[in-house]
Symmetry: C2
Subunit: 252 residues, 2 copies
Protein backbone atom coordinates (compact mmCIF):
# COMPACT_ATOMS: atom_id res chain seq x y z
CA UNK A 1 0.00 0.00 0.00
CA UNK A 2 1.41 3.44 -0.89
CA UNK A 3 1.68 5.71 2.12
CA UNK A 4 -0.62 8.77 1.87
CA UNK A 5 1.26 12.07 2.13
CA UNK A 6 -1.26 13.61 4.54
CA UNK A 7 -0.72 12.68 8.20
CA UNK A 8 -2.56 12.12 11.44
CA UNK A 9 -1.16 14.51 14.05
CA UNK A 10 -1.63 13.52 17.69
CA UNK A 11 -2.16 16.94 19.27
CA UNK A 12 -1.75 17.51 23.03
CA UNK A 13 -3.84 20.26 24.63
CA UNK A 14 -3.38 22.21 27.90
CA UNK A 15 -4.25 20.58 31.23
CA UNK A 16 -6.48 23.47 32.34
CA UNK A 17 -9.73 21.96 31.02
CA UNK A 18 -12.50 22.66 33.52
CA UNK A 19 -10.32 25.07 35.49
CA UNK A 20 -10.94 28.80 35.92
CA UNK A 21 -7.23 29.44 35.27
CA UNK A 22 -5.91 29.27 31.70
CA UNK A 23 -2.30 28.12 31.31
CA UNK A 24 -0.56 30.38 28.75
CA UNK A 25 -0.14 28.17 25.65
CA UNK A 26 3.51 29.14 25.20
CA UNK A 27 4.22 27.41 28.55
CA UNK A 28 2.91 24.04 27.42
CA UNK A 29 3.15 23.85 23.61
CA UNK A 30 6.24 24.39 21.44
CA UNK A 31 5.84 27.18 18.88
CA UNK A 32 6.40 24.91 15.85
CA UNK A 33 3.49 22.75 17.04
CA UNK A 34 1.19 25.76 17.34
CA UNK A 35 2.18 26.54 13.74
CA UNK A 36 1.22 23.02 12.60
CA UNK A 37 -2.06 23.20 14.53
CA UNK A 38 -2.87 26.52 12.82
CA UNK A 39 -2.67 24.90 9.37
CA UNK A 40 -4.96 21.91 10.03
CA UNK A 41 -8.37 21.98 8.33
CA UNK A 42 -9.66 18.61 9.56
CA UNK A 43 -10.01 17.45 13.15
CA UNK A 44 -11.08 14.44 15.18
CA UNK A 45 -11.73 15.25 18.82
CA UNK A 46 -13.20 14.13 22.10
CA UNK A 47 -15.42 17.23 22.28
CA UNK A 48 -15.89 19.75 19.48
CA UNK A 49 -16.78 22.62 21.82
CA UNK A 50 -13.51 22.23 23.80
CA UNK A 51 -11.54 21.88 20.56
CA UNK A 52 -12.98 25.16 19.21
CA UNK A 53 -12.13 26.90 22.50
CA UNK A 54 -8.55 25.56 22.25
CA UNK A 55 -8.19 26.65 18.60
CA UNK A 56 -9.39 30.12 19.56
CA UNK A 57 -6.50 30.30 22.04
CA UNK A 58 -4.05 29.09 19.40
CA UNK A 59 -5.38 31.75 16.98
CA UNK A 60 -4.45 34.46 19.48
CA UNK A 61 -0.77 33.40 19.20
CA UNK A 62 -0.46 31.94 15.69
CA UNK A 63 -3.34 33.07 13.43
CA UNK A 64 -5.24 30.05 12.06
CA UNK A 65 -4.99 29.59 8.26
CA UNK A 66 -8.78 29.04 8.07
CA UNK A 67 -11.60 30.50 10.18
CA UNK A 68 -12.77 28.09 12.91
CA UNK A 69 -16.31 27.95 11.48
CA UNK A 70 -14.90 26.60 8.19
CA UNK A 71 -12.97 23.74 9.79
CA UNK A 72 -14.15 20.18 9.45
CA UNK A 73 -14.44 18.99 13.07
CA UNK A 74 -15.74 15.53 13.94
CA UNK A 75 -16.24 14.08 17.40
CA UNK A 76 -14.87 10.65 18.19
CA UNK A 77 -17.62 8.08 18.67
CA UNK A 78 -18.44 7.63 22.38
CA UNK A 79 -16.93 4.41 23.76
CA UNK A 80 -20.45 3.14 24.51
CA UNK A 81 -21.56 3.64 20.87
CA UNK A 82 -21.17 0.58 18.74
CA UNK A 83 -19.39 1.84 15.66
CA UNK A 84 -18.24 -0.56 13.00
CA UNK A 85 -14.79 -0.46 11.41
CA UNK A 86 -16.10 0.95 8.10
CA UNK A 87 -17.76 3.89 9.90
CA UNK A 88 -14.56 4.53 11.87
CA UNK A 89 -12.42 4.35 8.71
CA UNK A 90 -14.70 6.97 7.15
CA UNK A 91 -13.55 9.36 9.86
CA UNK A 92 -10.02 9.12 8.41
CA UNK A 93 -11.17 9.53 4.79
CA UNK A 94 -9.95 13.18 4.62
CA UNK A 95 -6.36 11.93 5.08
CA UNK A 96 -6.68 9.55 2.13
CA UNK A 97 -8.03 12.55 0.17
CA UNK A 98 -4.89 14.54 1.03
CA UNK A 99 -5.86 16.54 4.14
CA UNK A 100 -3.77 16.10 7.27
CA UNK A 101 -5.89 15.73 10.39
CA UNK A 102 -5.45 16.60 14.06
CA UNK A 103 -6.54 14.26 16.85
CA UNK A 104 -7.21 15.96 20.20
CA UNK A 105 -8.77 15.11 23.54
CA UNK A 106 -10.03 17.61 26.12
CA UNK A 107 -6.75 17.82 28.04
CA UNK A 108 -3.27 16.38 27.69
CA UNK A 109 -2.07 13.68 25.28
CA UNK A 110 -4.81 11.97 23.28
CA UNK A 111 -4.92 8.17 23.53
CA UNK A 112 -3.24 8.16 26.95
CA UNK A 113 -5.78 7.94 29.79
CA UNK A 114 -8.04 9.55 27.17
CA UNK A 115 -9.85 8.53 23.97
CA UNK A 116 -8.20 8.37 20.55
CA UNK A 117 -6.24 5.10 20.41
CA UNK A 118 -8.77 3.39 18.12
CA UNK A 119 -8.32 6.11 15.49
CA UNK A 120 -4.54 5.88 15.71
CA UNK A 121 -4.75 2.11 15.32
CA UNK A 122 -6.97 2.51 12.22
CA UNK A 123 -4.49 5.01 10.79
CA UNK A 124 -1.67 2.45 11.15
CA UNK A 125 -3.82 -0.23 9.50
CA UNK A 126 -4.18 2.10 6.47
CA UNK A 127 -0.43 2.95 6.40
CA UNK A 128 -1.20 6.54 7.38
CA UNK A 129 1.78 8.28 8.98
CA UNK A 130 1.08 9.15 12.64
CA UNK A 131 2.99 12.14 14.08
CA UNK A 132 2.80 12.81 17.84
CA UNK A 133 3.42 16.42 18.87
CA UNK A 134 5.21 17.33 22.10
CA UNK A 135 2.97 18.77 24.80
CA UNK A 136 1.82 18.37 28.39
CA UNK A 137 1.24 14.90 29.85
CA UNK A 138 0.24 15.01 33.51
CA UNK A 139 1.49 11.46 34.22
CA UNK A 140 5.04 12.27 33.10
CA UNK A 141 5.18 15.71 34.72
CA UNK A 142 4.04 14.16 38.00
CA UNK A 143 6.50 11.26 37.86
CA UNK A 144 9.53 13.38 36.92
CA UNK A 145 8.80 15.80 39.76
CA UNK A 146 7.97 13.12 42.35
CA UNK A 147 11.49 11.93 43.10
CA UNK A 148 10.12 8.38 43.10
CA UNK A 149 11.71 5.56 41.11
CA UNK A 150 11.40 6.41 37.40
CA UNK A 151 13.15 3.44 35.81
CA UNK A 152 10.05 1.18 36.06
CA UNK A 153 6.50 2.38 36.52
CA UNK A 154 2.90 1.44 35.86
CA UNK A 155 -0.05 3.67 35.06
CA UNK A 156 -3.25 2.13 36.39
CA UNK A 157 -5.93 4.66 35.46
CA UNK A 158 -8.66 4.73 38.12
CA UNK A 159 -8.52 2.42 41.14
CA UNK A 160 -11.68 0.52 42.23
CA UNK A 161 -14.39 2.71 43.81
CA UNK A 162 -15.65 0.07 46.21
CA UNK A 163 -13.77 0.23 49.55
CA UNK A 164 -13.14 -3.51 49.84
CA UNK A 165 -11.78 -3.78 46.29
CA UNK A 166 -9.76 -0.58 46.72
CA UNK A 167 -8.23 -1.87 49.94
CA UNK A 168 -7.23 -5.12 48.22
CA UNK A 169 -5.86 -3.27 45.18
CA UNK A 170 -3.71 -1.02 47.39
CA UNK A 171 -2.31 -4.11 49.13
CA UNK A 172 -1.30 -5.50 45.72
CA UNK A 173 0.32 -2.21 44.73
CA UNK A 174 2.38 -2.12 47.93
CA UNK A 175 3.51 -5.70 47.30
CA UNK A 176 4.54 -4.77 43.74
CA UNK A 177 6.52 -1.78 45.02
CA UNK A 178 8.28 -3.88 47.64
CA UNK A 179 9.01 -6.70 45.17
CA UNK A 180 10.06 -4.73 42.07
CA UNK A 181 10.39 -1.04 43.02
CA UNK A 182 7.92 -0.19 40.22
CA UNK A 183 6.22 3.17 40.92
CA UNK A 184 2.41 2.95 40.82
CA UNK A 185 0.62 5.90 39.21
CA UNK A 186 -3.14 6.44 39.32
CA UNK A 187 -5.82 9.10 39.02
CA UNK A 188 -9.20 9.86 40.54
CA UNK A 189 -12.11 12.17 39.71
CA UNK A 190 -11.53 15.28 41.86
CA UNK A 191 -14.71 14.94 43.92
CA UNK A 192 -13.40 11.57 45.17
CA UNK A 193 -9.98 12.93 46.23
CA UNK A 194 -10.87 13.13 49.92
CA UNK A 195 -12.25 9.59 50.05
CA UNK A 196 -9.22 8.19 48.18
CA UNK A 197 -6.75 10.03 50.44
CA UNK A 198 -8.49 8.70 53.54
CA UNK A 199 -7.99 5.17 52.21
CA UNK A 200 -4.37 5.86 51.18
CA UNK A 201 -3.49 7.14 54.65
CA UNK A 202 -4.82 3.92 56.16
CA UNK A 203 -2.29 1.74 54.30
CA UNK A 204 -0.34 -0.18 56.94
CA UNK A 205 3.09 0.60 55.49
CA UNK A 206 3.99 4.04 56.87
CA UNK A 207 7.40 3.91 55.16
CA UNK A 208 5.93 3.84 51.62
CA UNK A 209 6.07 7.16 49.77
CA UNK A 210 3.04 8.92 48.29
CA UNK A 211 3.47 11.75 45.80
CA UNK A 212 0.46 13.95 45.10
CA UNK A 213 0.61 16.38 42.17
CA UNK A 214 -2.23 18.87 42.34
CA UNK A 215 -3.24 21.14 39.46
CA UNK A 216 -0.24 20.44 37.22
CA UNK A 217 0.70 23.43 34.98
CA UNK A 218 -2.01 25.51 36.71
CA UNK A 219 -1.36 28.55 38.84
CA UNK A 220 -2.05 26.50 41.96
CA UNK A 221 0.35 23.68 41.01
CA UNK A 222 1.56 21.81 44.08
CA UNK A 223 3.73 18.70 44.01
CA UNK A 224 4.51 16.98 47.31
CA UNK A 225 6.21 13.66 48.06
CA UNK A 226 6.20 12.25 51.60
CA UNK A 227 6.05 8.94 53.39
CA UNK A 228 2.55 7.91 54.39
CA UNK A 229 3.60 8.55 58.01
CA UNK A 230 4.54 12.14 57.09
CA UNK A 231 1.32 12.72 55.16
CA UNK A 232 -0.62 11.76 58.31
CA UNK A 233 1.17 14.62 60.10
CA UNK A 234 0.56 17.05 57.20
CA UNK A 235 -2.99 16.15 56.27
CA UNK A 236 -3.89 19.81 55.79
CA UNK A 237 -1.91 19.61 52.52
CA UNK A 238 -4.13 16.87 51.08
CA UNK A 239 -6.16 17.83 47.99
CA UNK A 240 -9.74 19.08 48.22
CA UNK A 241 -12.75 17.97 46.18
CA UNK A 242 -12.04 20.13 43.14
CA UNK A 243 -8.35 19.79 42.21
CA UNK A 244 -7.29 17.33 39.52
CA UNK A 245 -4.49 15.15 40.95
CA UNK A 246 -1.99 12.51 39.94
CA UNK A 247 -1.14 10.01 42.70
CA UNK A 248 2.04 7.95 42.84
CA UNK A 249 2.88 5.28 45.40
CA UNK A 250 6.47 4.12 45.45
CA UNK A 251 9.91 4.42 46.90
CA UNK A 252 12.82 6.69 45.98
CA UNK B 1 10.16 24.38 57.67
CA UNK B 2 9.73 27.54 55.57
CA UNK B 3 9.66 26.84 51.86
CA UNK B 4 12.65 28.41 50.03
CA UNK B 5 11.59 30.77 47.23
CA UNK B 6 14.13 29.38 44.76
CA UNK B 7 12.99 26.24 42.95
CA UNK B 8 14.29 23.06 41.38
CA UNK B 9 13.22 23.01 37.72
CA UNK B 10 13.04 19.59 36.06
CA UNK B 11 14.20 20.48 32.54
CA UNK B 12 13.53 18.19 29.57
CA UNK B 13 16.04 18.27 26.69
CA UNK B 14 15.71 17.21 23.01
CA UNK B 15 15.79 13.53 22.07
CA UNK B 16 18.51 14.00 19.44
CA UNK B 17 21.43 13.24 21.77
CA UNK B 18 24.01 11.18 19.89
CA UNK B 19 22.26 11.78 16.55
CA UNK B 20 23.73 13.70 13.60
CA UNK B 21 20.37 15.48 13.16
CA UNK B 22 19.44 18.30 15.55
CA UNK B 23 15.73 18.73 16.27
CA UNK B 24 14.87 22.44 16.15
CA UNK B 25 14.27 23.42 19.80
CA UNK B 26 11.01 25.25 18.98
CA UNK B 27 9.55 21.87 17.95
CA UNK B 28 10.13 20.25 21.32
CA UNK B 29 10.27 22.97 23.98
CA UNK B 30 7.67 25.65 24.73
CA UNK B 31 8.99 29.19 24.42
CA UNK B 32 8.24 30.10 28.05
CA UNK B 33 10.39 27.17 29.16
CA UNK B 34 13.31 28.31 27.00
CA UNK B 35 12.92 31.68 28.73
CA UNK B 36 13.12 30.05 32.18
CA UNK B 37 16.13 27.95 31.10
CA UNK B 38 17.89 31.12 29.90
CA UNK B 39 17.68 32.67 33.39
CA UNK B 40 19.10 29.74 35.38
CA UNK B 41 22.58 30.21 36.82
CA UNK B 42 22.88 26.85 38.63
CA UNK B 43 22.55 23.40 37.10
CA UNK B 44 22.65 19.73 38.08
CA UNK B 45 23.08 17.44 35.10
CA UNK B 46 23.88 13.96 33.87
CA UNK B 47 26.73 15.26 31.72
CA UNK B 48 28.09 18.81 31.79
CA UNK B 49 29.39 18.70 28.20
CA UNK B 50 25.93 17.79 26.83
CA UNK B 51 24.30 20.43 29.04
CA UNK B 52 26.62 23.14 27.69
CA UNK B 53 25.84 22.04 24.12
CA UNK B 54 22.11 22.25 24.90
CA UNK B 55 22.43 25.70 26.50
CA UNK B 56 24.31 26.91 23.43
CA UNK B 57 21.30 25.90 21.33
CA UNK B 58 18.93 27.66 23.74
CA UNK B 59 21.12 30.79 23.54
CA UNK B 60 20.60 30.92 19.76
CA UNK B 61 16.82 31.32 20.35
CA UNK B 62 16.57 33.04 23.74
CA UNK B 63 19.86 34.72 24.73
CA UNK B 64 21.10 33.36 28.08
CA UNK B 65 21.18 35.90 30.92
CA UNK B 66 24.72 34.79 31.87
CA UNK B 67 27.56 33.47 29.68
CA UNK B 68 27.81 29.67 29.74
CA UNK B 69 31.35 29.77 31.18
CA UNK B 70 30.04 31.68 34.23
CA UNK B 71 27.31 29.17 35.05
CA UNK B 72 27.60 26.86 38.02
CA UNK B 73 27.22 23.39 36.51
CA UNK B 74 27.53 20.23 38.59
CA UNK B 75 27.30 16.66 37.40
CA UNK B 76 25.07 14.22 39.24
CA UNK B 77 27.06 11.56 41.09
CA UNK B 78 27.31 8.37 39.01
CA UNK B 79 24.97 5.66 40.31
CA UNK B 80 27.97 3.48 41.08
CA UNK B 81 29.56 6.17 43.29
CA UNK B 82 28.67 5.88 46.92
CA UNK B 83 27.56 9.36 47.89
CA UNK B 84 26.17 10.08 51.30
CA UNK B 85 23.05 12.14 51.93
CA UNK B 86 25.01 15.14 53.23
CA UNK B 87 27.12 15.29 50.07
CA UNK B 88 23.97 15.04 47.93
CA UNK B 89 22.22 17.73 49.95
CA UNK B 90 25.22 19.99 49.32
CA UNK B 91 24.38 19.82 45.62
CA UNK B 92 21.09 21.57 46.40
CA UNK B 93 22.69 24.22 48.65
CA UNK B 94 22.41 26.95 45.96
CA UNK B 95 18.60 26.69 46.19
CA UNK B 96 18.66 27.27 49.94
CA UNK B 97 20.90 30.28 49.18
CA UNK B 98 18.24 31.67 46.83
CA UNK B 99 19.32 30.41 43.38
CA UNK B 100 16.85 28.36 41.37
CA UNK B 101 18.46 25.31 39.78
CA UNK B 102 17.85 23.30 36.63
CA UNK B 103 18.04 19.50 36.60
CA UNK B 104 18.73 17.96 33.17
CA UNK B 105 19.67 14.60 31.72
CA UNK B 106 21.22 14.01 28.29
CA UNK B 107 17.89 13.50 26.51
CA UNK B 108 14.21 13.70 27.42
CA UNK B 109 12.68 14.03 30.89
CA UNK B 110 15.13 13.76 33.79
CA UNK B 111 14.29 11.14 36.43
CA UNK B 112 12.30 9.01 33.96
CA UNK B 113 14.41 6.18 32.49
CA UNK B 114 17.23 8.58 33.29
CA UNK B 115 19.09 9.85 36.39
CA UNK B 116 17.81 12.66 38.62
CA UNK B 117 15.16 11.14 40.90
CA UNK B 118 17.44 11.13 43.96
CA UNK B 119 17.96 14.89 43.70
CA UNK B 120 14.23 15.50 43.29
CA UNK B 121 13.58 13.33 46.34
CA UNK B 122 16.13 15.32 48.37
CA UNK B 123 14.50 18.56 47.22
CA UNK B 124 11.14 17.34 48.56
CA UNK B 125 12.74 16.33 51.85
CA UNK B 126 13.96 19.93 52.23
CA UNK B 127 10.57 21.44 51.24
CA UNK B 128 12.07 22.82 48.04
CA UNK B 129 9.45 23.48 45.37
CA UNK B 130 9.92 21.17 42.36
CA UNK B 131 8.65 22.48 38.99
CA UNK B 132 8.58 20.10 36.00
CA UNK B 133 8.74 21.80 32.59
CA UNK B 134 6.88 20.44 29.57
CA UNK B 135 9.08 18.83 26.92
CA UNK B 136 9.72 15.67 24.95
CA UNK B 137 9.28 12.25 26.58
CA UNK B 138 9.87 9.40 24.15
CA UNK B 139 7.74 6.92 26.15
CA UNK B 140 4.65 9.11 25.92
CA UNK B 141 5.16 10.14 22.28
CA UNK B 142 5.53 6.47 21.35
CA UNK B 143 2.47 5.32 23.30
CA UNK B 144 0.17 8.10 22.05
CA UNK B 145 1.15 7.36 18.45
CA UNK B 146 1.03 3.57 18.77
CA UNK B 147 -2.74 3.09 18.76
CA UNK B 148 -2.27 0.52 21.51
CA UNK B 149 -4.27 0.57 24.73
CA UNK B 150 -3.37 3.74 26.65
CA UNK B 151 -5.61 3.44 29.71
CA UNK B 152 -3.19 1.10 31.53
CA UNK B 153 0.47 0.67 30.72
CA UNK B 154 3.79 -0.31 32.23
CA UNK B 155 7.26 0.98 31.44
CA UNK B 156 9.84 -1.73 32.06
CA UNK B 157 13.13 -0.10 31.09
CA UNK B 158 15.50 -2.66 29.55
CA UNK B 159 14.49 -6.32 29.23
CA UNK B 160 16.97 -9.08 30.23
CA UNK B 161 19.94 -9.48 27.88
CA UNK B 162 20.27 -13.25 28.35
CA UNK B 163 18.12 -15.13 25.77
CA UNK B 164 16.59 -17.57 28.26
CA UNK B 165 15.58 -14.81 30.69
CA UNK B 166 14.35 -12.61 27.84
CA UNK B 167 12.21 -15.41 26.46
CA UNK B 168 10.66 -15.97 29.88
CA UNK B 169 10.10 -12.24 30.41
CA UNK B 170 8.34 -11.91 27.05
CA UNK B 171 6.05 -14.81 28.01
CA UNK B 172 5.12 -12.96 31.21
CA UNK B 173 4.45 -9.77 29.27
CA UNK B 174 2.14 -11.56 26.82
CA UNK B 175 0.25 -13.09 29.75
CA UNK B 176 -0.13 -9.65 31.35
CA UNK B 177 -1.46 -8.21 28.08
CA UNK B 178 -3.95 -11.04 27.69
CA UNK B 179 -5.06 -10.85 31.34
CA UNK B 180 -5.28 -7.06 31.83
CA UNK B 181 -4.81 -5.34 28.44
CA UNK B 182 -1.92 -3.35 29.97
CA UNK B 183 0.47 -2.14 27.22
CA UNK B 184 4.10 -3.12 27.88
CA UNK B 185 6.70 -0.49 26.98
CA UNK B 186 10.46 -1.13 26.92
CA UNK B 187 13.71 0.14 25.45
CA UNK B 188 17.00 -1.31 24.24
CA UNK B 189 20.45 0.07 23.40
CA UNK B 190 20.40 0.62 19.61
CA UNK B 191 23.16 -1.89 18.84
CA UNK B 192 20.96 -4.63 20.33
CA UNK B 193 17.87 -3.71 18.23
CA UNK B 194 18.39 -6.51 15.73
CA UNK B 195 18.86 -9.17 18.39
CA UNK B 196 15.79 -7.97 20.34
CA UNK B 197 13.62 -7.88 17.20
CA UNK B 198 14.63 -11.43 16.30
CA UNK B 199 13.44 -12.55 19.75
CA UNK B 200 10.22 -10.50 19.53
CA UNK B 201 9.29 -12.03 16.17
CA UNK B 202 9.66 -15.49 17.66
CA UNK B 203 6.90 -14.91 20.22
CA UNK B 204 4.26 -17.60 19.65
CA UNK B 205 1.30 -15.22 19.68
CA UNK B 206 1.12 -13.82 16.13
CA UNK B 207 -2.02 -11.83 17.00
CA UNK B 208 -0.24 -9.63 19.58
CA UNK B 209 0.63 -6.12 18.38
CA UNK B 210 4.13 -4.65 18.41
CA UNK B 211 4.66 -0.92 17.95
CA UNK B 212 8.18 0.27 17.14
CA UNK B 213 8.94 4.00 17.30
CA UNK B 214 12.26 4.77 15.66
CA UNK B 215 14.08 8.10 16.00
CA UNK B 216 11.26 10.01 17.73
CA UNK B 217 11.31 13.77 16.94
CA UNK B 218 14.23 13.19 14.55
CA UNK B 219 14.09 13.72 10.79
CA UNK B 220 13.95 9.93 10.29
CA UNK B 221 11.06 9.42 12.75
CA UNK B 222 9.11 6.28 11.91
CA UNK B 223 6.29 4.86 14.02
CA UNK B 224 4.75 1.55 12.98
CA UNK B 225 2.25 -0.71 14.74
CA UNK B 226 1.53 -4.19 13.40
CA UNK B 227 0.68 -7.66 14.64
CA UNK B 228 3.72 -9.90 15.09
CA UNK B 229 2.47 -11.90 12.08
CA UNK B 230 2.51 -8.71 9.97
CA UNK B 231 5.97 -7.70 11.19
CA UNK B 232 7.27 -11.07 9.99
CA UNK B 233 6.06 -10.15 6.49
CA UNK B 234 7.52 -6.61 6.73
CA UNK B 235 10.83 -7.36 8.41
CA UNK B 236 12.64 -4.89 6.12
CA UNK B 237 11.02 -2.14 8.25
CA UNK B 238 12.68 -3.37 11.47
CA UNK B 239 15.19 -0.98 13.07
CA UNK B 240 18.92 -1.21 12.37
CA UNK B 241 21.78 -1.14 14.89
CA UNK B 242 21.93 2.63 15.25
CA UNK B 243 18.38 3.98 15.71
CA UNK B 244 17.07 4.65 19.21
CA UNK B 245 13.70 2.89 19.56
CA UNK B 246 10.75 2.54 21.90
CA UNK B 247 9.03 -0.86 21.79
CA UNK B 248 5.45 -1.50 22.87
CA UNK B 249 3.72 -4.87 23.03
CA UNK B 250 -0.04 -4.81 23.47
CA UNK B 251 -3.42 -4.86 21.88
CA UNK B 252 -5.59 -2.03 20.52
Amino acid sequence: MTQPIAKLYVVPTPLDFGSAFQTPLHQVLPLANLQIIATLTHWLCENSKSLRAFLKRVDAIVPLCHPIQHLNIQQLPAQSESVNVTQSCDLLAPILAGHSMGLASEAGMPAIADPGATMVQLAHSQSIQVVPLVGPCSIILALSASGLYGQHFAFLGYLPKNSVDLHQKLEHLIQAIQRTGQSQIFIETPYRNVKLCTELLQIRHPEVYLSISQGLTLEAQRIQTRTLADWRRHNADLPNRSTPCIYILGKP
